[in-house]
């Protein structure tokens, strides 16, 4: 370091460190906004990977007796499609939105533990690469995203030869990969919980928190309580495979159903982990584009909490067909039906918010309303699956595939798209092209219904899920072809989205700091925000602090007591 005076001005000159270079800044960053963007970018990269896997599946199934993939490769592809979309697209992208937006919404300058935040991201990225690298060895996980035993046991090493099992490293990649991603999620969740509970701006009581922050809080608690179950199951399976224990080996008095209980006691809360933040996004978008405060804020917030609690009581509805005792079936059928109530409360509140509002169907609002309509289908066919006799008929059929995709694609993914179009101006200072956005929406909307609605019928007609091909005389041909065409339409819509990204970043319209005339604090910063977010931590007096600031004469705190 040296100092020098030029014209009476003292300057300090020193060598620039790597962490100050452009690449170094991103690699060493602990800034929640940069990490949020990295999460989102990584999520969309894996969305492309998972999407290509989906197209391979649908190409194989487009016609009977398909020969595009061999059975072993097909098993790997459909397994990795599920793992990639759940663990590497939806979770990271929603975590990215949370990372970027929660501190801004709460009036904080960063997350509570910035370096742990960075650790969580890097573990996600390398965990994802670790999982996908299994393809290079030809040993990608192949036992389904739920990795059921005995399919996933080591087979010939420790079990009788007649057990169909996975002696290669396929399952090890699944076990270790999901454990790495689990550690990453725990790091992120702890950070969210502490940030939300401890770093809120003065005046921002929990009763005034934006609903997105509420849903992130509930999601974080779900992750903290659900992930240990998966980690324990994975560890036991690893011991079974490599040390010779018999936790899941029925020939040595182990219990394969133990895996299902442990997995689904993580797996069903996981579904709500994937959907609750999307509920939060929709709860932010709908009021802004309806020009009204959210209807029934308290009900929306606490129904999220109720969903969180109930999600731990429904796991065995995935296991009706294994022969549970009647009392257990009755309990889990009831609890599964019950969870529809708080979910319906949200739907009614979103609709009530729109009623009487000045609705502006910009792209974020299109995706938000599309979410409400399509998620309703996913919710209702979920209730149908809670009915035990019906579940017996369609369990492990394409009906279940239709259900999960209506929940996760038209639910979580539409929520993500709504959030992306809504907050892209905040992230980049530029606004995504509205015309391309609408094309993206309508192609996705038509594509998803073409793809997933026929799957209901295929399930009812008896087509089992996970089959790599089917004979041509079962009446499934046309429906499969329609589903495959729909999948390619979704592929085209995703290309439109990516073209929109690139075109906007290159020569997009400048957005300004508040292009939607929004209500919450993240819009009370520059676009993109400065490193420190706020020059001064704002003081909050209502649920719409930025609205209050812009419209002091009609400020909420003057008229509303909360």
């Amino acid at each position: 370091m040296a100092t020098q005076t030029i014209g009476g001005t003292t300057t300090v000159v020193r060598r620039r460190s790597f962490s100050e270079s452009y690449v170094g800044e991103w690699i060493t960053t602990t800034d929640h906004k940069k990490l949020g963007l990295m999460y989102i970018f990584t999520g969309f990269f894996f969305f492309l990977v998972g999407g290509m896997e989906a197209l391979l599946i649908r190409t194989q199934l487009a016609q009977p007796n398909g020969k595009v993939l061999d059975p072993q490769t097909y098993n790997q592809i459909f397994t990795m499609h599920g793992v990639t979309m759940i663990f590497l697209f939806v979770m990271p992208t929603l975590a990215g939105f949370g990372n970027y937006l929660v501190p801004l919404m709460l009036g904080a300058r960063d997350m509570a533990f910035p370096r742990m935040n960075s650790f969580g991201f890097w573990l996600l990225l390398f965990g994802g690469i670790f999982l996908q690298s299994s393809f290079l060895l030809g040993q990608a996980p192949d036992s389904g995203w739920f990795n059921y035993v005995p399919l996933s046991t080591a087979g010939s090493s420790f079990s009788p030869a007649h057990v169909i099992a996975t002696p290669g490293m396929n399952t090890d990649f699944w076990v270790l990969g999901t454990t790495l991603l689990g550690i990453s999620s725990i790091a992120g969740s702890l950070n969210f919980v502490v940030t939300i509970l401890k770093l809120r701006a003065p005046g921002m009581s929990v009763n005034r928190m934006p609903l997105f922050s509420w849903m992130i809080l509930v999601m974080s608690f779900l992750l903290l309580f659900a992930l240990p179950s998966l980690t324990v199951a994975s560890f036991l399976l690893l011991l079974d495979r490599h040390v010779g224990t018999h936790f899941f080996d029925y020939t040595a008095h182990g219990d394969p159903l133990l895996w299902q209980h442990l997995f689904w006691s993580f797996g069903h809360p996981e579904v709500y982990i994937l959907i609750l933040p999307a509920f939060g996004i929709v709860s932010e978008v709908i009021p802004v584009f309806s020009r009204k405060p959210i209807f029934g804020y308290t009900f929306i917030a606490w129904s999220g909490v109720a969903i969180g609690f109930l999600s731990f009581t429904v796991w065995a509805h995935h296991m009706f067909a294994v022969g549970l005792p009647s009392i257990a079936q009755a309990f889990f059928a009831t609890s599964t039906t019950l969870i529809a109530i708080p979910t319906a409360v949200k739907v009614f509140n979103w609709i009530a918010t729109m009623v009487g509002g000045k609705i502006d169907f910009k792209t974020p609002m299109l995706f938000a309303t599309g979410f409400v309509a399509m998620f309703l289908i996913g919710g209702l066919n979920g209730v149908a699956l809670a009915v035990v006799p019906f579940d017996y008929q369609v369990t492990d059929s394409y009906f279940v595939v239709a259900h999960i995709h209506y929940v996760l694609f038209s639910g979580s993914a539409f929520g993500i798209f709504a959030g992306l179009y809504y907050w892209f101006p905040k992230f980049t200072g530029k606004i995504l092209d509205e015309r391309l956005g609408k094309i993206h929406f309508w192609l996705s909307f038509i594509g998803l219904n073409l793809t997933f609605f026929p799957m209901h019928l295929l399930g009812i007609l008896g087509m089992p899920r996970r089959v790599y091909t089917f004979p041509g005389n079962l009446g499934w041909n046309e429906l499969n072809l329609i589903a495959s065409l729909g999948a390619f339409l979704i592929g085209v819509s995703v290309m439109v989205l990516f073209y929109n990204f690139i075109a906007t970043l290159k020569h997009g319209k400048k957005a300004g700091d508040d292009p939607w005339d929004a209500f919450t604090l993240e819009w009370d910063t520059s676009s993109p925000p400065k490193k420190y977010n706020f020059l001064e931590i704002p003081i909050v007096r209502s649920r719409r602090p930025f609205y209050d600031k812009k419209y002091p004469e009609t400020a909420d705190w003057k008229h509303v007591t909360h």
């Binding site: 370091m1 040296a2 100092t3 020098q4 005076t5 030029i6 014209g7 009476g8 001005t9 003292t10 300057t11 300090v12 000159v13 020193r14 060598r15 620039r16 962490s19 170094g24 800044e25 690699i27 060493t28 960053t29 602990t30 800034d31 300058r109 960063d110 370096r115 960075s118 650790f119 890097w122 573990l123 990225l125 390398f126 965990g127 690469i129 670790f130 490293m169 090890d172 990649f173 270790l176 990969g177 454990t179 790495l180 550690i183 003065p202 690893l238 490599h242 009370d524 910063t525 400065k530 490193k531 420190y532 706020f534 020059l535 001064e536 931590i537 704002p538 003081i539 007096r541 600031k549």
Partner: protein
């Protein structure tokens, strides 16, 4: 800094001084002499006290200087688009004009130390005023260790599917990363 580096820095600065056009009109080096935190009686080539917060006017945000007595009550809602900087007499910071986004005169390897804008520190509940602090003081510093620890965990996991040697390497890396993280100066 070595003598060679010192010479190069001085050479660069001399060239900047000679070539006024090299300094952008709105750069952080204003026309009028600005006092830094160099001790008045100390020769200017002495070490600058880097950690002392600098008060400054951020042109971009059109801050209006305002002198605020510490006990003067503050308005509760601050208009953030036109924030009011405070000159806190207690800390006697020296004014300095900085435009944040203006590139600093620099070569590929050497640069001026980036100037850190001032922000008001977080307010505790029940306390209406924050402190005027530099951004660097309150924002988290960059770190390599989270990345190192993540990579170490992946190497450890890779060892389980490859060989015991890789497990050992991974374990050593994990321990080293945790130690590095713990001992890093925050």
């Amino acid at each position: 800094m070595s003598q060679k580096q010192q010479d190069r820095v001085e050479q660069q600065l001399s060239s900047l001084e000679d070539d006024a056009s090299a300094i952008p009109p709105s750069s952080s080096i204003p026309d009028t002499p600005q006092s830094e935190t160099v001790q008045e009686d100390t020769p200017q080539s002495e070490t600058v006290q880097e950690d002392t917060p600098q008060s400054e006017t951020v042109q971009e945000d059109t801050l209006q200087p305002e002198t605020v007595q510490e006990d003067t009550p503050q308005p509760e809602t601050v208009q953030e688009d036109t924030p009011q900087p405070e000159t806190v007499q207690e800390d006697t910071p020296q004014p300095e004009t900085v435009q944040e986004d203006t590139p600093q005169p620099e070569t590929a390897q050497e640069t001026e130390k980036p100037q850190s804008p001032l922000v008001v520190s977080g307010k505790k509940r029940g306390r209406k005023k924050g402190r005027l602090v530099s951004v660097e003081e309150i924002m988290p510093k960059p770190s390599y260790w989270p990345l190192a620890l993540a990579v170490s965990f992946v190497v450890l996991s890779m060892g389980i599917v490859i060989s015991w040697i890789v497990i050992v390497i991974g374990a050593v890396l994990v321990i080293a990363s945790i130690m590095g993280w713990s001992l890093e100066r925050r």
